[in-house]
Symmetry: C2
Subunit: 207 residues, 2 copies
Amino acid sequence: MALAHKRLDPALVSVGFTAKEPIAFSGQDRVPVLTDRGATICGSREIADYLEDAYPDRPSLFGGAGGRALSLFVDSWAERTLFPALVKLVLCDVLAHLDPADAEYVRRTREQQIGKSFEAMRAERERSVGPWRGCLAPLRTRLRTSPYLCGAEPAYADYSVFGFFQWARMISAFPVLDTGDPVHAWRGRLLAAFGGLADAAPADDLS
Amino acid sequence: MALAHKRLDPALVSVGFTAKEPIAFSGQDRVPVLTDRGATICGSREIADYLEDAYPDRPSLFGGAGGRALSLFVDSWAERTLFPALVKLVLCDVLAHLDPADAEYVRRTREQQIGKSFEAMRAERERSVGPWRGCLAPLRTRLRTSPYLCGAEPAYADYSVFGFFQWARMISAFPVLDTGDPVHAWRGRLLAAFGGLADAAPADDLS
């Protein structure tokens, strides 16, 4: 979405959890990786910073130095508060979306990181809904007075938070948002953005 | 601190919980209230927005439109996540700082809002420390890589969050931050900012 925001239309290459040859050249093993004008940039945030500097005449991802700085706090909030609460609701549905080799890898590594089996996460899911809804309070409050975190139009901080909702939507049909929640309406606007770019990604229909 | 950031040196008027005549002219009963150039502005955030627009040639409180928009999310996070967790640690020490009429008013209104007596809050305080430290994770993560939320120098979003720590410091000696916490170091920098403006306010020495 940051690339679309900058009116760029990249060629895409898929990378599997256990088939990472396409990004071996980058010297690390995580996605996303961007190559552009001879540069290799790894990580969503690093890519956004690169795009903002490399394409300064296109729509801004940050809206100035203050927005660039504070979007780092939004990134931290999404990673440290939103994501851990969301994982408890949807990760248990991911295995059905993976081929056997990736499923084994994801189960082993995630169960080790979280200290809990996929079955235990599923059993505790209903109890995890309350804390999840509570942790969304700052996002919900902000979106009561503005269509996007970044104001009248979306920008990087919106995409940063939305990415976690998109991940959840692709691996699980669990209803993480009530339809009356301002966060639900915001997610809908971002699904529709850029001609439905995010909406075109396959949503879960297995779980 | 927003006024100091704009290099303004206001005349201050104290307002008591039960002695609100000084702000009656504003048509509402909460502080802060700013009068400037014939305008009356109520509320910290509204005052910051006013100052940014009225004094555009002085140091910016937001660092551009993106920063102004995202600082509203930081405000929401501080109000909806940080403040409720902090209240549980320090509010039980506030009564000793108030004259009898204000103390009665504060006890009655706060116990009603929170649904819990001051004595119960004190009894549960040690159990509230863990959730409080956890809710600071996004702030802590951000401050590991930057001296301020707003980057190399503080701006409005820093003052917005810091205000809650300053409130806590003035009413309670309870150690809400470990000395090794990056948030502790950040608070220290803001206490020292503007020639120690915040540090000059009396810290609790009663509880």
